[in-house]
Symmetry: C5
Subunit: 380 residues, 5 copies
Amino acid sequence: MKERAKNAARKLQSTLVPKPFKRSAKKPPGQKPGTAIYTGEQHLDEVRMIVHDFSEQHYDVIPIEKIESSESFLQSDSKTWIQVQGLHDIEKLRTVWDYFELHPLIHEDIVNMSQRPKIEEYEDSIFVVMRMITHKNQDAESHGLHTEQISIVLGENYVLSFQERDDPVFDPIIKRLQMENTRLRKLGSDYLAYALIDTIVDHYYQALDLIGHSIEEIEELVIEDPREKHLQKIHSMRRELVHFRKSVWSLRDGLNSLIRDESPLISDEVKVFIRDVYDHLVQVIDSIETSREMVFGLYDMYMSGLSNRMNEVMKVLTIIATIFMPLTFVAGIYGMNFNPEASPLNMPELNWYFGYPAAWIVMLILAFIMAFYFKRKGWL
Amino acid sequence: MKERAKNAARKLQSTLVPKPFKRSAKKPPGQKPGTAIYTGEQHLDEVRMIVHDFSEQHYDVIPIEKIESSESFLQSDSKTWIQVQGLHDIEKLRTVWDYFELHPLIHEDIVNMSQRPKIEEYEDSIFVVMRMITHKNQDAESHGLHTEQISIVLGENYVLSFQERDDPVFDPIIKRLQMENTRLRKLGSDYLAYALIDTIVDHYYQALDLIGHSIEEIEELVIEDPREKHLQKIHSMRRELVHFRKSVWSLRDGLNSLIRDESPLISDEVKVFIRDVYDHLVQVIDSIETSREMVFGLYDMYMSGLSNRMNEVMKVLTIIATIFMPLTFVAGIYGMNFNPEASPLNMPELNWYFGYPAAWIVMLILAFIMAFYFKRKGWL
Amino acid sequence: MKERAKNAARKLQSTLVPKPFKRSAKKPPGQKPGTAIYTGEQHLDEVRMIVHDFSEQHYDVIPIEKIESSESFLQSDSKTWIQVQGLHDIEKLRTVWDYFELHPLIHEDIVNMSQRPKIEEYEDSIFVVMRMITHKNQDAESHGLHTEQISIVLGENYVLSFQERDDPVFDPIIKRLQMENTRLRKLGSDYLAYALIDTIVDHYYQALDLIGHSIEEIEELVIEDPREKHLQKIHSMRRELVHFRKSVWSLRDGLNSLIRDESPLISDEVKVFIRDVYDHLVQVIDSIETSREMVFGLYDMYMSGLSNRMNEVMKVLTIIATIFMPLTFVAGIYGMNFNPEASPLNMPELNWYFGYPAAWIVMLILAFIMAFYFKRKGWL
Amino acid sequence: MKERAKNAARKLQSTLVPKPFKRSAKKPPGQKPGTAIYTGEQHLDEVRMIVHDFSEQHYDVIPIEKIESSESFLQSDSKTWIQVQGLHDIEKLRTVWDYFELHPLIHEDIVNMSQRPKIEEYEDSIFVVMRMITHKNQDAESHGLHTEQISIVLGENYVLSFQERDDPVFDPIIKRLQMENTRLRKLGSDYLAYALIDTIVDHYYQALDLIGHSIEEIEELVIEDPREKHLQKIHSMRRELVHFRKSVWSLRDGLNSLIRDESPLISDEVKVFIRDVYDHLVQVIDSIETSREMVFGLYDMYMSGLSNRMNEVMKVLTIIATIFMPLTFVAGIYGMNFNPEASPLNMPELNWYFGYPAAWIVMLILAFIMAFYFKRKGWL
Amino acid sequence: MKERAKNAARKLQSTLVPKPFKRSAKKPPGQKPGTAIYTGEQHLDEVRMIVHDFSEQHYDVIPIEKIESSESFLQSDSKTWIQVQGLHDIEKLRTVWDYFELHPLIHEDIVNMSQRPKIEEYEDSIFVVMRMITHKNQDAESHGLHTEQISIVLGENYVLSFQERDDPVFDPIIKRLQMENTRLRKLGSDYLAYALIDTIVDHYYQALDLIGHSIEEIEELVIEDPREKHLQKIHSMRRELVHFRKSVWSLRDGLNSLIRDESPLISDEVKVFIRDVYDHLVQVIDSIETSREMVFGLYDMYMSGLSNRMNEVMKVLTIIATIFMPLTFVAGIYGMNFNPEASPLNMPELNWYFGYPAAWIVMLILAFIMAFYFKRKGWL
Ligand SMILES: [Mg+2]
Ligand SMILES: [Mg+2]
Ligand SMILES: [Mg+2]
Ligand SMILES: [Mg+2]
Ligand SMILES: [Mg+2]
Ligand SMILES: [Mg+2]
Ligand SMILES: [Mg+2]
Ligand SMILES: [Mg+2]
Ligand SMILES: [Mg+2]
Ligand SMILES: [Mg+2]
Ligand SMILES: [Mg+2]
Ligand SMILES: [Mg+2]
Ligand SMILES: [Mg+2]
Ligand SMILES: [Mg+2]
Ligand SMILES: [Mg+2]
Ligand SMILES: [Mg+2]
Ligand SMILES: [Mg+2]
Ligand SMILES: [Mg+2]
Ligand SMILES: [Mg+2]
Ligand SMILES: [Mg+2]
Ligand SMILES: [Mg+2]
Ligand SMILES: [Mg+2]
Ligand SMILES: [Mg+2]
Ligand SMILES: [Mg+2]
Ligand SMILES: [Mg+2]
Ligand SMILES: [Mg+2]
Ligand SMILES: [Mg+2]
Ligand SMILES: [Mg+2]
Ligand SMILES: [Mg+2]
Ligand SMILES: [Mg+2]
Ligand SMILES: [Mg+2]
């Protein structure tokens, strides 16, 4: 039985919940700031780098081994997106960071897998950390939500993106890059950075979808029959929503300041699009808040369901006891052994002709009075 | 029984609650921004376009087939309102959007039926998305609230409105347009846009009216007898209010910035009216908040009603048990078979002349003591 | 019984609670803004107009029939307060509004009896809507709070006030106007407007006084004995406080902006007084918040009182059952009919000399053990 | 019993709780603003005035009868603190107010004993109202907190202080004035005003100290045994904290604006000290908030303690009932009077040789099964 | 038993909880501001001073006895960190404060062990008070969190740090100072101050780690079996989180204003690093809030666990009572002593051939009906 409970508790830890404390395990206090230590697990054999070079006229995809191979693309007039997959090999990543002269604090954040999402402006770049939340077709029991940290660096004519895995999350972007006459090809690297952010925010809707379905399911279950395992689902839901909110909330201010600030890296034309993704993010946050309120409501329903069940149980007990206790008492009376021969007052009923039927009638009347009383109280 | 519970749960999903997640179902992540995909259901056979052309001197209504037919109205000095009904035919809508050179992000929002309400300023237009909440005379069980998204584009001398259906929500405006010497005819297109927004906000009062009545009804029911189905109504109420609030809340800031910003599209004269509709919106939001507090209060009343019932049930049980248990014990005593002949100490009472009446008197005294005790405790 | 509950529910609707939804009943959506429709009940036979004309040297009170009769007063150097009582006759009111060229939106707000309290600046006037909360010596059951909407228009050398009834709420002001050498006579119409506002805010203290007494009363009652009707009082209290807060809250920002804005209608000297009434309003709001917290605390006390009672009930039941069940069992044992003659093992106790007393001793010992156990648990 | 409950309720009204409503009792609505009416009780025989005149070189204390006696001190270069004790004699106070030409609104606030704490800047003075909370060595039952309103007026080279009583709260300041070479003697009257405020804030720490001890005490009691009287203490605690917060909260903004504003009455040197007392005030507010959370936690502990007790009671009942009901049934079976002679099937057990012991064995086995079942459930 | 409860209560007072009230014990109200009184316990034999003098070229550590010995280091171009350990000897500390001409208010805060964390700018220095929270390898029962106040003064080319103990918290900084070519050696004293702050914030992660583990542990325990001691752990958790939040919350604004203000003491280069530590602090605060929500959730789970247990107990009782009460009644019927010989109606069953088995069959049927009823209700 204990084992079962522990399993239940373990299942509560959904994959959505990050491990914000792992960092400390690997990185002791007082270390040099900018010390890059990867706090995730290794997912790929090696760090891959893919150059996407494009302009209005062309689009090329070139996997590279060394970051120096991107030199020619960066020098040319084209826009260049370097996609880095795998974050376990700090040495190889450092070649990229040094090549682009990124600030050491950026190094640290890219490989710290529990970094708070944020948008920061540096002297000649904008640094974005987001939490991608994807949806996998897993069993219905777990919510199938999966979280991954993605960092984006926007420079003057380049974009760097860093992911732990080679998930195909950005494939729709790549497909759009292949098409001519798209805004993606026409506008600058700021628009590409926007497109990456937008893709990540789009995924939040799918996660919300799943959560919405779960809430409806639990609602049906709780109304039907409030069992302890439903409470655990409610609790787990509550936890997921807290972490979901934490994963998106802090981006809000970041996007807002991108819209208002006068960064030369982002054109006015792209700012309109950033306002759009900001609007989506606010809608996501609103939905999370709404879901949270629904979950609080579920808890209230669960608790009053319990109270209702208790009331029902107690009514059954009370009805039975209230009907049978007086009857049993009557039966007990006539089970007494007073000697009728010692006195005519001693239980003469026992010798009456209609004694036994009379006792039954008394008992039935008592039972009917009780039943009527309960009926009037609405308990039956 | 399960079936019944599911039905109850289904009924909780009132028509007011939007489906914020449907979007993802139709629109996969990573798509081109401004990709217009209609996320609602088709309500009309075809997209209808009606031109309302008016000035201080005239008012004409002309249904048109092609948007180019509005050219002459737009070129003239008159003000032109083009009412578009039906949003399922993206291709036809695109002819309108392209004709007025609307930003692609506006396209997307017009046909995304779960767009968050908002007011956005573009270079030469103001874009408004609102959620019309109308009231239908349906059965008393469901609240009869019905939601529809309406988009409005205000240009220099024109207004565009987009609705899913051909509901007569704007008929009062049309009637006022027919009358001469009205502000609507005298003032510019900004005043018309205001009038449309004002009409939508006016409808919120009717929805609040309905909700207010429901709360009063549930209150009476809960005070009378706290049943489980009342709790479900409370829960449903809570959900509706959360979504109602979400439907109006975000407009507040939009209207406020319209009043403060220096948009050339809105004259100072009209700003006074926008301040008025802002005031109405704030009043609506206040009432929603108040209703929410009332609903929380109802839940508290329900829970304490349950506890009260439980107390009452337990008192009945305790009174019955406490009176009959000692009596039954006394009866049990005299039902023992100790042999009076084996010893003078063995239940001599059984052979007493007043044995049986004495037993009754003992039992009655016990019962009276208990009854007196309960009386003093206030349980009877 | 149902009737009783309905009455209870009806009593909960105190007179303080406004009807924010009535408006919609009379005013359909989409109407011309500024459409004046009176949403209250008629209280007076006709609309009365009283001119109070005063300067440092004189004070005259002149009831007038037509607003044009005030012409001479308004033209002179004196300050003029026109007190309008009764709002049901829109036509007559319109003569006033048109005479002073008030904005149509002001018309609408004056006669809409569920207008949110507010302070608005127009081009050449300041418009104030407030909710007077007066206290009538009614029966102790209802709180005796009574609400009335009062509108005030401050122009350059005049003040208009609009009330539904002819309540003597402003009589203290009139008395002060009769006295010479008062600030009221010396300072301008802005000071008079302040004095009217201040009088209304002063009344809030009396309402708070009443509410404070009610809370103390309910507190005593709940501590004494938590009954269901007390809960209904708590619920009613909570509702009143929500509406009280709504009635005063929105004035706060209005007064604050009057202090800060550079309106030529209000002199610096009067601004110091407005700061004082603002301070009073903040104190009122603070007290409402505090009362709300007290009421939440009362609810918590009520609920735990219920739980305490339940515990007490259950203890009585448990003590009785736990003492008498074993005793009844023992009595049952010796009520069995095993044949002592069939075997020496068959209930030889029945034939013992001390059988019956021994059975009693066993039962008494059992009872003492139980009583000792409950004593040690602190249940007795 | 009712008497006892009323006493309990009365005790809840600690001395800390002010009477914000008394004002209305004495001051009817609509009165002239600045009408000074003392709303407290008389504590001293007469209003006392003490002049503290000091400079870097000297410090003199002179009790005066008439305010005009302070003329010479105020004219000189020295700094002068006039300490006024006793507020019941409005006429005498008015001589002071008129002498210093204080604004009438200040008069009103000084003698209104339920004034919200605040800091206001007037043309040539700064007016401060605070609530001193002192600690008296009373019995442990009441918290021994005592509240008194203190007003301070800071002018160019003078400070006025107004108190109801002659409590020695400012004695430490007087001692410091007696010492030479202190900042108090060197710096201006603004520093003296700061020192008075600082002394009042210092007293808040002692009140917090007491409250902290009370919370710890109640915590111990609640963990030990959740009784109803503990709940009343929790409720009383909650009330005190609400009022304590109200007594200090509004000062925060006042002090903050003193630091930021460019008042010529406060030098930059003294602003650093005001920042310090602001910091202390924030710390006091933080501690109040923390204490409030602790008190909410205590309530939760109390409620779950009640539930735990209930569970325990129910377990005892259930165990007893579940063990003895089957046994009593078995005994009842063998108490039936079926005639063994009428049929060999009629209760032949009664005549078995081992009948009676067998019945006991059956009953003991039943009891053991039940006990084992409860053991496994963890109820024993 | 009382003793046990007191122990439990005592254990709740974890070491994390500061003693904000101790101050008052030592420092009476009305004292001179800047009066330095140490409110902690003595931890070291004497106050130690260690000079860390460093530049890009060198790093020297010199313990000093008198603060004047640091003269030469401070005069030179190098940067100097003076680490002061032990705060009990005010006289010795005063030599340091006077030497650096620190404001008296700084003196007071350095030795007041319950000072609210803050960052304050003075004319030529920045003063920081923080609360170090370290983790000791203690027994698993207590959380092993330990709190210590650390003050830092940043001057133009020096940093002072004040600690109560000689804990090795800053040893990683010292190790980094020993290495050449580090930012710490190259950049100014502002970077050193940053590094000290960063080290303290890094420790918060470890504390969070511990708290996270505790929450997971309690969660498992509560799901398994909601016992009273788990509630005490939840309560203790809640308390710790409140105090943790209080210990870090107020730093947020301080760091934020350091980033924005134009203090000449902090270079732009270092501001980027301060932004990083600010980001970490916000992440810590977020995690505390999340943990708080988890703890509220735990309480809810605990309470519904209790209700579930109660339901289970009541079901057992009800099932047993409902099955055995009717059976006992039937047995009681046939235990009645009606005389079959007095009338053929008097319990003829007793003499039937199948009387006894028939009674059993009746009773079994009754039992089966009840069991079936409970089965259908889902109680079995
Ligand atoms: Mg919310
Ligand atoms: Mg929320
Ligand atoms: Mg909440
Ligand atoms: Mg909520
Ligand atoms: Mg809530
Ligand atoms: Mg809640
Ligand atoms: Mg709310
Ligand atoms: Mg609210
Ligand atoms: Mg609320
Ligand atoms: Mg609430
Ligand atoms: Mg709630
Ligand atoms: Mg609540
Ligand atoms: Mg509140
Ligand atoms: Mg509050
Ligand atoms: Mg509250
Ligand atoms: Mg509360
Ligand atoms: Mg509450
Ligand atoms: Mg609550
Ligand atoms: Mg709080
Ligand atoms: Mg708080
Ligand atoms: Mg709180
Ligand atoms: Mg709570
Ligand atoms: Mg709380
Ligand atoms: Mg709360
Ligand atoms: Mg929180
Ligand atoms: Mg929170
Ligand atoms: Mg909270
Ligand atoms: Mg919360
Ligand atoms: Mg909560
Ligand atoms: Mg809660
Ligand atoms: Mg709660």
